[in-house]
Amino acid sequence: MNRKLTDLWVGLFVVAGFGAILILALKAGNLASFNFSETYQVLAKFDNIGGLKVRAPVKSAGVVVGRVASVGFDDQTYEAVVTLALDRRYAFPKDSSAKILTSGLLGEQYIGLEPGGDTAKLADGGKIKATQSAIVLETLISQFLFSKAAEGKSDSKAPDSGITAPPGFTAPPVIGAPGGADASAGKTNDKSGTKGETKDKK
């Protein structure tokens, strides 16, 4: 009798313990969303991957379609080689492009996959040719500073133009010119177009 009771309590304890492990794996962990479905591997080469890590999500249209399987370095082309493990359920056109994006302002980095228009699909071991590197904040800032310095020099040549902002950031309003009335329209123009406009004004 007493023995039976001990067995019962130990059984309850063991069941509760394993139940807790299961809850942790299912409810707190990602075992439930972990799909054991097959994946296929696709290579992508980037000039700079920034802070991309293994197991970072690969998203298309915001939906996770795969994970970064490995990150390597190619010493022939001096590029980063990223292997993506994509879910077999999703096929992508051969000319899809991969971008390294950041979720939020300071969030983790992930790969955004944009489908192309090719009828042929990416196969296992395929390569994504069109890639866009991570945006490195330091490079961005130095580009901004250099363009600002360059603008300052051109300003000294033509002192009548008082606006010092680089053309890519805020287009100076051009009175009478169509599309130059607001800054956003000026932004959509490419750099040379905006420059041309400002030169016309000068």
């Binding site: 023995r3 001990t6 067995d7 309590w9 130990v10 309850l12 304890f13 063991v14 509760a16 313990g17 394993f18 139940g19 807790a20 492990i21 809850i23 942790l24 794996a25 299912l26 409810k27 707190a28 962990g29 990602n30 075992l31 439930a32 969303s33 972990f34 890590k53 293994v54 197991r55």
Partner: protein, 260 residues
């Protein structure tokens, strides 16, 4: 001066000899653990004693650690406007660190001491010698069942601790403070990996279980068969198993989570 050097040398030799004896006993416990499994009832009785009787302290501590994590985590996270990540913070810190470590420390205090005291008193009462006289190995009959019971109980207790802690964090974070319910769970599921985090936490707790229970068993078996000796052995169990847990935690964390 000569006495001092002699004392230091004596202490050093004793310490090294004790480590050697411990290693030998560890091997012996493994070799004699046949009975712990062939007569599994012995082990079950010990699991009942070690596991079930530790349940209350583990569950209550887990709940309160979860509460505190919820409060503290919320205070820190809301400063950066990311209180949505509260579930992730609570679950990761529990599953990776606090669950195994705090459980092992409580386990050393609750179960380790009682194992040491029991075996020490058996030795003081010459029960162990009596067993040897009857050609029953005390290592197989007394030590091994306790050792395996501790090794089996520890990961289960740690998992219960973590699960209850996550629930405690949920109570404080979602029910009391009002963090979004969906974000709490979804962020947790996004960030906690079942293999990397939960699995490694379980491995940690198994290693801690081996360390704590073996130290308890060893100290009891090695104690001086006097009331004073048993009390000293019990103290040593708590001190050295707590230190061993913290040391092993550092090593395991460095091995498991240092890549990236």
């Amino acid at each position: 001066m000569r006495l001092l050097i002699e004392a230091i040398g004596h202490w050093l030799i004793d310490a090294v000899a004790k480590v050697g004896y411990g290693a030998r006993l560890f091997g012996l416990t493994f070799r004699h653990s046949g009975m712990a499994f062939s007569r599994f009832r012995l082990t079950i009785a010990q699991i009942n004693f070690i596991g079930n009787y530790s349940l209350v302290i583990i569950v209550v501590s887990g709940l309160f650690v979860g509460f505190v994590l919820g409060l503290q985590g919320y205070n820190t996270l809301q400063r950066y406007g990311s209180e949505q990540a509260l579930g992730l913070l609570v679950a990761l810190s529990l599953v990776r660190e606090l669950g195994p470590v705090v459980t092992a420390l409580l386990f050393a205090g609750r179960a380790g001491t009682s194992i040491t005291a029991e075996i020490g008193l058996m030795k003081a009462g010459e029960q162990l010698s009596a067993m040897e006289m009857m050609a029953v190995s005390p290592i197989a009959r007394v030590l091994a069942p306790r050792f395996w019971a501790g090794v089996i109980s520890m990961p289960l207790l740690a998992a219960l601790f973590s699960a209850v802690g996550v629930f405690g964090g949920y109570i404080v974070g979602v029910q009391m403070i009002g963090v979004d319910d969906g974000a709490f769970w979804s962020q947790m599921q996004n960030g906690v990996d079942w293999k990397e985090d939960v699995g490694n936490g379980v491995i940690k707790s198994i290693v801690f279980g081996i360390a704590v229970t073996f130290i308890a068993v060893f100290e009891g078996y090695d104690s001086q068969p006097t009331p004073e000796g048993v009390s000293r052995a019990t103290t040593r169990t708590v001190v050295s198993s707590s230190l061993a847990v913290l040391f092993l935690d550092f090593i395991l964390t460095a091995l498991m989570f240092s890549r990236e």
